[in-house]
Assembly symmetry: C2
Amino acid sequence: MTKVEEIITNDQQRIARYAKALGHPIRMYVMELLSKQSCCYSGDLSEELPIAKSTLSQHLKELKDAGLIQGEIETPRIKYCINKENWEEAKSLFNKFLGTKDK
Amino acid sequence: MTKVEEIITNDQQRIARYAKALGHPIRMYVMELLSKQSCCYSGDLSEELPIAKSTLSQHLKELKDAGLIQGEIETPRIKYCINKENWEEAKSLFNKFLGTKDK
DNA sequence: GTCATTGTTCGTTAAATTACGAACAAAAGT
DNA sequence: ACTTTTGTTCGTAATTTAACGAACAATGAC
């Protein structure tokens, strides 16, 4: 009868999308790293993390598809950093949701 | 070689668990509702939301299993509310992650 | 050109997620 | 006892997720 879009707000859709992307320890690890040190190389991640590089690649793709990170080619490596614009949006959405006073 | 637990912190595991639970629009909707109005009945949710009640039940179970909500029998209905203790932990973890100043 | 290096894509597999309706269980009302 | 209300559980199906290794592509070094 009623459609999802009439009930679930756009913000809820978006924050759920971000939350989903953060819903894995490896991806949390990457995001936390990036929020601390501005950028990283997947080769370095691949060394520290005990997972196949193809698996890591998939996780990075997840984060990229969710808009949380972006990759920049810096041959022969790829430099990953936070996607500032979307990250700001995500933070704003989470802060609002969490009832934090700012924003 | 190295184990996941040596790399991924406990906090990262926990916040990822919470994020995963929040990674669906329906569940975001419920959590947002509960953070506003302290409690709700799944019957009411079932009416507003265009999904089967069995599906809703599953989503509520997800949130319950993640520790974000708790159900209290109030026959014949079930009253759902935030699980305060875990919600505080989740907020604290998210705030730390998001780089918010408080907490 | 050939060889490393770096990271993605492919193919596969196992498990988890999402969704539905039907069946079921519990408890209160008649 | 029967019915109604409320919500969970069951059975099923389609899709997505997570993981691996092998194969592949791009680029720089030899």
